[in-house]
C-alpha cells in the first residue's frame, strides 16, 4: 500500500501543575502516547474512544495545530514536521478539518460566502470571479442554494452550518479531512444527512477521512479501518469488519458491549430484570 498519511511514534504530553500557583509539577500527562497508523487514499480511518482518550489531541497534532513532542508525520511522502510556518500554511490546502461545533468553528462576522471562500483566497491563486463561482458550486454540492451566500452563521441551523463547514473543508480539494465528531451536535435525521454527504464526497473525490468519534455504531457506518484509543494509546487497530466481528482487546469488547441494542426483543444492557425480582437489593449494593 502506498499510504497517503503515515504516522509513527507520535507523542504529546503536558506537564501537570497547579493552575492557581502557576507552579509546574514533575508529573506529565500523556495525551497522545506513541501512536502510529497509516491512512490510505480514499479511505476512512476512524479513531474511537471515550472522553479524555486523546482522540481530539491526536487529530490536532496531525495537522500541527498542536505541535507534537516527538514522532513522524509523513503526508504524500513529505515530512510534515520539517515544514516551516509558510510551508505549513500552504499545506492546509491538502489537509483540512471539520469540527464538532459548527457554531464556534465559523466566524460569526463572516458571511457564508466569505467563510467558504476564505481558504481559496488564502491558499490558491484564484481570481475573485472564479472564486465566487466556485463558492456557489461548493455550496450547491453540499445542498445549499445561492440564497445562503450572504447570510450569517446565526441565521442557519446546526445541520446547515455543518454543511457550510464541509463546503469550506473541500474547497481546496484536500486529500485528507480530519473530522472531529462532525455529527455529535446534530439531530438524528440531520446526522444521517450529513454522514451520507460525507460518504458521497468521498466516493466522488477520493478524499480520505480521519473520523474521530466516541460513537462506535456511528463509526461502523463509514469506517474502513479503525483504531480504539484509551488513555492516549491505541489499544487495538484493524479493519472495521474484523474489529466489529472479532474484537481482540478487552476494552474494545467492553465498548461494544455497552452499545444499546436497537432491537427491543434483544436487549443487551438491561438483562430481563423484570423476571429476576431484585426487590430488597437496595441495601445490598
Amino acid at each position: 500500500m502506498n499510504p497517503l498519511l503515515e504516522v509513527k511514534g507520535l507523542c504529546k504530553s503536558y506537564r501537570q501543575g497547579s493552575v492557581l500557583s502557576g507552579r509546574k509539577g514533575d508529573r506529565w500527562f500523556h495525551a497522545v502516547k506513541n501512536v502510529g497508523f497509516m491512512v490510505g487514499r480514499g479511505e476512512t480511518f476512524a479513531v474511537v474512544g471515550e472522553s479524555g482518550a486523546g482522540k481530539s489531541t491526536l487529530g490536532r497534532v496531525i495537522l500541527r495545530l498542536i505541535e507534537p513532542d516527538s514522532g513522524t508525520l509523513v503526508y504524500e511522502g513529505s515530512d510534515l514536521l520539517a515544514l516551516n510556518q509558510r510551508e505549513l500554511r500552504l499545506s492546509r490546502a491538502k489537509m483540512q478539518m471539520i469540527f464538532q461545533d459548527p457554531y464556534s468553528s465559523l466566524d460569526p462576522k463572516l458571511s457564508i460566502a466569505a467563510s467558504v471562500g476564505e481558504p481559496l483566497r488564502a491558499l490558491t491563486a484564484m481570481g475573485r470571479d472564479e472564486r465566487e463561482a466556485r463558492v456557489i458550486e461548493l455550496l450547491a454540492r453540499v445542498g445549499l442554494n445561492s440564497d445562503y451566500l450572504e447570510r450569517f452563521p446565526y441565521e442557519l441551523s446546526g445541520g446547515q452550518l455543518q454543511r457550510v463547514a464541509i463546503a469550506r473543508a473541500i474547497s481546496t480539494n484536500p486529500g485528507l479531512i480530519i473530522c472531529d465528531e462532525p455529527v455529535a451536535a446534530l439531530d438524528m435525521s440531520i446526522r444521517a444527512q450529513v454522514l451520507n454527504l460525507l460518504k458521497d464526497l468521498q466516493e466522488e473525490r477520493g478524499i480520505s477521512y480521519i473520523f474521530i468519534s466516541h460513537d462506535l455504531s456511528l463509526v461502523s457506518v463509514l469506517a474502513h479501518r479503525l483504531a480504539v484509543m484509551r488513555a492516549g494509546q491505541i489499544v487495538e487497530e484493524g479493519s472495521a469488519e474484523r474489529l466489529f466481528s472479532d474484537p481482540a482487546h478487552e476494552y474494545t469488547r467492553q465498548l461494544l458491549r455497552s452499545i444499546p441494542s436497537t432491537n427491543p426483543r434483544r436487549r443487551r444492557l438491561i438483562v430481563s430484570e423484570a423476571k429476576s425480582s431484585s426487590r430488597g437489593r437496595l441495601a445490598a449494593e
Partner: protein, 335 residues
C-alpha cells in the same frame, strides 16, 4: 394490567405567552405512564418533548403557559394547583433529572448537604437524620464510600457520579414518578450503560413510573415499555416498544429508525429524512411532517391536521397510516 395510570396527560397544549397570536409549542399531547413501567418520549430538538416534561413538573418558564388540556398524577389534577402544593409534589410524588448532572448540582454545597436538604424540607427529618438518609441514597445509587463522598463538592465527582448523585437526590423522598430528560446523553457509552442499569434497578425496587426523554433509539429499545414519538409539537405515534420497532406506521418513525447507524447495517448507506423540522411559524397547515414525507399526497396530507388513529397496539397521527406500506427495516436479525 388495566389499572389507572400513574400519570395521564391529555390534550396538552403549551403556548407562548408573548405574541398577539398565540403560538403553540405543543398541541394536543396525550401520554400515560403506569407505575413500574417506562414511557419513552422521543423526538428531535424543538419537537416539544422537554416542554411537555417541564409542564408536568410545573416548571414551565414564564414565557410559556398551558393553553388547554389536563395533567393528572395519581388522580389529582396538577394544572391550576398552587405553587406550594406543587412544590411538595415536586419531591414526594414526582422528580426530574436532567441531561447535565454536573451543572444541575450546586457547586458551592457538598453533595450530601444538597440531598439532605431535600429530605429535611419534604420529609421533616432532622439535620442528622437527613444526612444519614442522604448517605443511604448515595449508597443505593452505587457510589462507593458514600459517607466520605457525601462531604465532597460536585467538582470532585465525575460525570457519571454526578448523574448518580442527581438520581439519589431525585429519589430521596421516594416519588412515584421519575422524569428523566436525556440523562445519559452527555455520558460515555460504558458509563451510560451503568446509569441505564441503575435507573432500571431502582425502578424495580421502588415501582417507579418513568418518563424517559431521549433522542437515542438504542436507549429507547433498551429501556422503554411504551414509546411516544414527538414531531413539531405533536405526538405522531404511540405504541409499545416492540410494535414501534417492528410495526411502525408513521413515516416519521420509519425515517427515525432508518437514521440509526447500526453495526449490522455496516457500509450500507442508510435511509434518511430530507429537510429540517419546521419552526413554530412555518409548520405546514395539515400534517406537520407533510413537507418532508415521501408518502405525502397533495390535497390530502396538507389539508387538515390528522387525528390520532387507533390501531391494535398503537395510535398514529397520519391520515394514510392504514394504506401505506412502510418497508420493514432490517434491524437486528430475529433470534
Amino acid at each position: 394490567m388495566k389499572t389507572a395510570p400513574l400519570l395521564s396527560v391529555s390534550n396538552l397544549t403549551i403556548q407562548l405567552r408573548s405574541s398577539s397570536m398565540p403560538l403553540a409549542l405543543t398541541s394536543d399531547v396525550s401520554l400515560e405512564v403506569r407505575s413500574g413501567s417506562t414511557l419513552g418520549l422521543v423526538g428531535e430538538s424543538g419537537s416539544g418533548k422537554t416542554m411537555t416534561s417541564l409542564a408536568i413538573m410545573g416548571l414551565l418558564p414564564f414565557a410559556c403557559r398551558i393553553g388547554a388540556g389536563s395533567i393528572r398524577l395519581g388522580g389529582r389534577e396538577l394544572i391550576g394547583m398552587s405553587r406550594e402544593e406543587l412544590s411538595t409534589l415536586q419531591a414526594t410524588e414526582m422528580a426530574m433529572i436532567f441531561q447535565d448532572g454536573a451543572r444541575s448540582l450546586h457547586p458551592a454545597f457538598t453533595v450530601g448537604r444538597q440531598i439532605a436538604d431535600v429530605a429535611r424540607q419534604h420529609l421533616g427529618l432532622t439535620r442528622r437524620a437527613a444526612m444519614r438518609r442522604a448517605i443511604e441514597m448515595l449508597d443505593a445509587v452505587g457510589i462507593k464510600e458514600p459517607a466520605k463522598r457525601a462531604e465532597q463538592y460536585p467538582h470532585t465527582f465525575s460525570g457519571g457520579m454526578c448523574q448518580r448523585a442527581m438520581i439519589a437526590m431525585a429519589l430521596v423522598c421516594q416519588p412515584k414518578l421519575l422524569i428523566a430528560d436525556e440523562p445519559t446523553t452527555a455520558l460515555d457509552v460504558t458509563v451510560q450503560a451503568q446509569v441505564l442499569r441503575l435507573i432500571k434497578r431502582l425502578q424495580h425496587e421502588m415501582d417507579l413510573g418513568v418518563l424517559f426523554i431521549t433522542h437515542d433509539m438504542g436507549v429507547v429499545a433498551e429501556m422503554c415499555d411504551r414509546v411516544a414519538v414527538m414531531y413539531a409539537g405533536q405526538v405522531v405515534e404511540e405504541a409499545d416498544v416492540t410494535t414501534l420497532f417492528e410495526r411502525f406506521r408513521h413515516p416519521y418513525t420509519a425515517g427515525l429508525l432508518g437514521s440509526i447507524p447500526t453495526i449490522d447495517r455496516r457500509g450500507r448507506s442508510f435511509g434518511f429524512i430530507p429537510g429540517t423540522m419546521p419552526g413554530l411559524k412555518t409548520r405546514p397547515r395539515g400534517c406537520r411532517f407533510s413537507d418532508r414525507c415521501a408518502y405525502s399526497i397533495p390535497a390530502v396530507c396538507d389539508e387538515a391536521v390528522p387525528p390520532n388513529e387507533k390501531f391494535e397496539n398503537s395510535s398514529v397521527r397520519c391520515v394514510r397510516a392504514a394504506e401505506i406500506d412502510l418497508r420493514r427495516l432490517p434491524s437486528e436479525p430475529a433470534a
